[in-house]
Homo-oligomer: 457 residues x 2
Amino acid sequence: MTDNIDQNESLTEAIQEALEDERFAEASATFSELHPADQAEIFNALEDEQQDVLLELLDISTTADLFDELEDDETLEAAENLSTERLADVLDEMDPDEAADLLGDLPPQIAEEALAQMDEAEDVLPLLGYADKTAGGRATTDYIAMRPYTTAQQAIQFLREVAPENDVPYYLFVIDRQKRLVGVSGLRELVIAKPDATMQEIMDTDVVSVSANADQEEAARIMRRYDLSALPVVDADNRLLGVISHDDILDVIADEATEDIYALSQVSDADIDPNSTIGQQIRGRLPWLIVNSFASLFAAWVISNFGELITQVALLAFFQSVVAGLGGSSAGQDVAMMVRALALDKVSKGQARRILIRQVLVGFLQGSAIGLLVGIGIGLWQQNPFLGLVVGLALIFNMLVAATVGTLVPLVLHALKKDPALASSVLVTATTDAMGFMIYLSLASIFLARIQQYIPI
Amino acid sequence: MTDNIDQNESLTEAIQEALEDERFAEASATFSELHPADQAEIFNALEDEQQDVLLELLDISTTADLFDELEDDETLEAAENLSTERLADVLDEMDPDEAADLLGDLPPQIAEEALAQMDEAEDVLPLLGYADKTAGGRATTDYIAMRPYTTAQQAIQFLREVAPENDVPYYLFVIDRQKRLVGVSGLRELVIAKPDATMQEIMDTDVVSVSANADQEEAARIMRRYDLSALPVVDADNRLLGVISHDDILDVIADEATEDIYALSQVSDADIDPNSTIGQQIRGRLPWLIVNSFASLFAAWVISNFGELITQVALLAFFQSVVAGLGGSSAGQDVAMMVRALALDKVSKGQARRILIRQVLVGFLQGSAIGLLVGIGIGLWQQNPFLGLVVGLALIFNMLVAATVGTLVPLVLHALKKDPALASSVLVTATTDAMGFMIYLSLASIFLARIQQYIPI
């Protein structure tokens, strides 16, 4: 099998045609034999009514696999069209962590009714208490746990009997009577152990686990750090609640990166994608633009204090944005580097001072290079060496400001346990804008007479 | 075991003290019993000379684990201090994919000598031909391959004998005489199969694989899409070259996200981190600032065409940056959303037009809201309704421009098979700046007389 993305478009068309021509069995059969990842893509490409028709044609297990694969809001939308009875059956077949997410998203009354009709509600109940983006919310109860005195042979026999589903992690967890996690064994250790060895002898007692209330980002960080393909989730008493598996963590890492990218570009809700509604987008974007509006009015106020100066030399107004904008670009580079370094845990406590000193030095060097380039450029263009000097000096100063705030703001927000990505770019750009205008126009006031000398009358 | 990050600082100090007091055995013992992830963190916190001393104390296997864990450039630096003989021994013990990366980074002569002295050069040789960031470059040759007629019992016996290392993926690949990949079996399917079943019977022939020359991002995308914890890498003849394992893919996803974040903030080299040298930073950042310098000089030239106007009404210069800046922020939101959607494969070919229409509509709505807010604000502040009108209208128009270029530029770059993150933010900001100034000052020319009416003399 090669990767199917390119052929999905023609498949979508085939299924659409079959649905339109009421060849329902064909549509359902074509759809059902695809990989759930492809099913989800094709399902999303269908019109709303076609989705509803298709959903009624699919069997419970296919529907469950599809729901596991769809984004949470897409699953919710599709689930709301099912009868409670069918919904309960589908929930029974879904991954427990996805089922818990869906139950949390459904209107409370429907969720309650569906839970009451489920056969395997006990798999989902322990997960309902944890928010989507916590370790507990990402955990599945589809794992294999053994007791310490079970032998390798018994364990293998047990595995043969339950023939676990394809997406169960490849670890066996060892728990005591109180369900406390005491050890872990890979399937491989089990296979290569002597048949009568007990789990107690086989297991590794050095288990890395994560608390159920920890942020999913923390879980991802631990899995990345220790190269784990499954991470047990425990409660405050070290009782095993569930397991986060490798495919969930891939999604977490991608989600967290999306969140950072969005935050740096001042978009709030990481769920926004090209299929989001206009309302969702505006809720995620407009508040930031409003904050920016106030910041830019403040910057305009800074300029307005130099109104007299600009009246005398209108030329000065051409270059104020050069100083502010390049300062903003340079600060944005620092913010991105710091946010990413903090997210990937590359900054240890003792390093903050050293990093700040180095970033300021980089800012000075970049400011000097850009100041020289742009200063000489403007000096020659306007035939006005002092104007070039003022722009060049202002660029150096503003890039020093940029490096300082671009490094410090993320560090301080991180130290205060706030997300450094979220507020940094707004705060930092506001500062480099206002300071850029102030530095440039103040320097221009100082050199006013010299600049005016070179202006043709 | 809980996660060790917080205690690493005191461990670093303990090891530093032991090295200073020449209690070498203690330093080496303390260090050696840590998890490689913690070893790497502590190693990086040591002074250069301390690193050299420690490296001489460690045994081959600990050094190899440490090298596997360090970033590529850190490994290179540490490796250059080893004798060729020791280096060859360490390379033998390293993960083949990491060893291949190191050999590719070393000066050619040293790499050749080390390869000649290695005992297991044949594990590394097939990987040397692939660049770091391709699927081939990420693959390890540490995998388990079986022939189709091997029975489950024989396979388990084989596993018991070779007792593979901890980080070998939990899949068994089935290859024919020509090493062509014909199937895959999970360890679990093996365990639950009848002892005399052959691999041919057990295996799944529907193997998802990736070409060795594919970008690592493609490999990550496939693994994420199909929830795989290991992905076989094949050559053009479908011969199995190696396997990408789940921990490598976690790094790839994080690296690719870093690359996108950096590109959006105009930083080029994703390897830059707080420990990078000043030279590395400037190489990754300055070129973008130079490009931005030209863009901002162009914007200044746009303003300079309205020099006469600004001389007449200096007031206009206060608000030009408000229009340009808010347009830039709004465009940045569109770029981030598009870049992320494209990276995560959420945009299919047919959707581009629909997405563009929707984003432009969002731009219009946001422009209207912000235009109203800021326009009224400025009108009241300056007691000048027509100035407020001009700023408000300019904001609406510029946000339409912002939505159009912010959506189109990433889409077009993606269609041209260029990285949409890389050039988008520069191109888009340059456009919203220049267009913002032009729209605002043109509108101001039109309403000049009206605006002047309200200016106190």
